[in-house]
């Protein structure tokens, strides 16, 4: 279970079930707690995503079948929960699929934007941006 990536549909369903935002934040925290930790060696400046109030590290691991596994971590639970949402949108896709995905539209299904502070929202979009950049980089590789 700890390695499971949720589907975005599953997250949207659970959000709807939970109803109020206090429970939804509680759920994000739970998602954050079950996110597998990143190795400490990977928590380095090269993997740092700036623009978040908490520390965030993110890297893409291309698999043999062309799919990309996203590994990311943060020192804050809610941010780890948001990483879990990010993984639901992007992890396990090919670089082409990642670039073809409208991440903002997918995230909008959770209505997160209106409940995250503008700085937090920027942090989330900084992560989306980093995933897209890294994916574009792997696509360029021979």
């Amino acid at each position: 279970m700890s390695t499971a990536v949720h589907s975005i549909d599953e997250l949207v369903d659970n959000f709807e079930l939970l109803g109020d935002w206090e429970s939804r934040f509680g759920y994000l925290i739970d998602l954050g707690k079950e996110l597998p930790p990143m190795e400490s060696a990977d928590q380095c400046e090269a993997n740092r995503v700036h623009g978040c109030q908490a520390q965030v590290w993110l890297k893409l691991v291309p698999e043999a079948d062309g799919r990309i596994t996203i590994i990311a971590d943060s020192d804050a639970f809610i941010v780890k929960g948001l990483i879990s949402v990010l993984l639901a949108v992007y992890s396990g896709k090919t670089a082409g699929e990642i670039l073809a995905t409208d991440g903002e539209a997918e995230l909008a299904r959770l209505d997160l934007a209106s409940h995250l502070s503008p700085t937090r929202k920027n942090g989330l979009f900084a992560m989306v941006q980093r995933v897209r950049e890294l994916a574009a980089g792997t696509e360029d590789m021979p």
Partner: protein, 406 residues
């Protein structure tokens, strides 16, 4: 204390609301304070009755606007016991005030090798302008160290600290830790080596009685919005004698005496430093705020803030795994803290869900946080309208949030 302040919350419309279904507990006063009705009404009244441009008009409204604006300058001078209204320059706030000093006095007076003495507690607004000035002039920055989590200054070797110092620029009360610095003592030391002094009073003006002559500083800056006034207005106290020799800050209308195509003569201080139409309504609101505070009494406000901070500190100490910052004794009205295994961001987000507003981050004191070895702290900061019951509610919310997060 509830005696002098009972009923006072009714003056603040913003405090009466619910956030996420819970009564708002506003503990972010070090960032900005809420506004009482007399301030809101003064601004409204000014725009409804007296609005005109200042200084140049011959008509009645312009006379009234000028009287209101210059009246506010007089009120500011009195508020900090400045010898003359000429010593008061209106600015957008503390940040602009410090930038003004750096860009005028600093550029005209500092040379390569001159030392600008700051403390490790400084807000970025009392650090970055000096970094820019140092790059421009070749002056160097030196820092009075803090002792650790207590956040008091290490003044054990004053003579070494003050060697070659031309400017001392220090915060009166630390916005990050609540430390109250011995500004009068440090300004006296600076005077003894002929250094010019600036006190950043952003966190102290409106929180305790302030007397620039007793402090003995050359410059002092504060912001209106942190003491119940509007945003976009603040003041710089600058000794008139120093202003004479300072080049202008920005050019434009209001600051000139005579303009020709190729050159201009400048207005006398402080007008020389106020180019363009000033924030007249802001000055009117600031005037009302200073009146409001002095009706309460700044010594009462300080006693209240300190008492609440000390109560909050005691209640926070009930938590396991908490690290509380700031001095043990007298302190400004705020408490900063971190939990061992819980990020301040999670804490503040969940507290907001319960209606409690606190600030987290480095509070614009990144180098200080680097030194303390924490990327972010949580800060609860108080003002005279906050109550012990609110501190209790804050603690209750923290208990709930910690259960969820651990």
């Amino acid at each position: 204390m509830s005696g002098i302040l009972s009923g006072i919350r009714d003056d603040f419309p913003a405090l009466a609301q619910k956030i996420n279904g819970h009564p708002l507990v506003y503990f972010d006063n070090a960032a900005t304070a809420q506004k009482p009705r007399p301030v809101l009404e003064a601004i409204q009244r000014y725009y409804e009755h007296d609005n005109a441009n200042v200084h140049r008009g011959i008509h009645e409204l312009s006379n009234r606007a000028t009287a209101a604006y210059e009246g506010a300058r007089e009120r500011v001078a009195q508020f900090i016991n400045a010898p003359s209204t000429k010593d008061i320059i209106f600015t957008r706030g503390t940040t602009e005030a410090i930038n003004l000093v750096a860009a005028t006095w600093g550029v005209a007076n500092l040379q390569e090798g001159d030392v600008i003495l700051l403390t490790e507690l400084e807000h970025h607004s009392n650090l970055v302008p000096w970094q820019l000035l140092a790059q421009r002039t070749g002056a160097v920055l030196r820092f009075i160290p803090v002792t650790g989590d207590e956040g008091t200054l290490d003044l054990s070797d004053l003579d070494a600290l003050f060697r070659d110092v031309k400017l001392l620029s220090i915060t009166h009360i630390s916005n990050a830790l609540g430390t109250i610095n011995p500004v009068a003592e440090l300004c006296a030391k600076a005077r003894a080596v002929d250094a010019v002094t600036l006190v950043d009073a952003a966190q102290s003006a409106g929180h305790l009685p302030l007397d620039v002559q007793a402090i003995g500083c050359d410059f002092l800056s504060f912001s209106g919005h942190k003491l119940c006034g509007p945003t976009g207005i603040g003041a710089l106290y600058a000794r008139a004698a120093l202003q004479e020799a300072m080049p202008p800050y920005q050019g434009g209308g209001e600051m000139i005496a005579k303009v020709a195509f190729q050159s201009s003569e400048f207005h006398v201080p402080p007008h020389k430093f106020e180019a363009g139409t000033p924030n007249i309504a802001g000055a009117v609101g600031l005037h009302a705020a200073l009146d409001y505070l002095d009706d309460i009494g700044r010594e009462n406000i300080h006693a209240h803030d300190t008492e609440l901070a000390s109560y909050a500190k005691d209640r926070l100490a009930e938590f396991d795994g908490i690290r509380i910052f700031g001095p043990a004794g007298d302190r400004g009205g705020l408490v900063s803290f971190v939990f061992e295994n819980v990020h301040a961001l999670d804490l503040a987000t969940m507290a907001d869900q319960q209606g409690v507003a606190i600030r987290i981050g480095h509070h614009c004191t990144q180098p200080l946080h680097d030194k303390l070895g924490v990327p972010a702290t949580a800060r609860a900061s108080f003002y005279f309208y906050n109550t012990r019951a609110e501190v209790d509610r804050f603690i209750e919310v923290l208990q709930k949030v910690m259960k969820l997060l651990s």
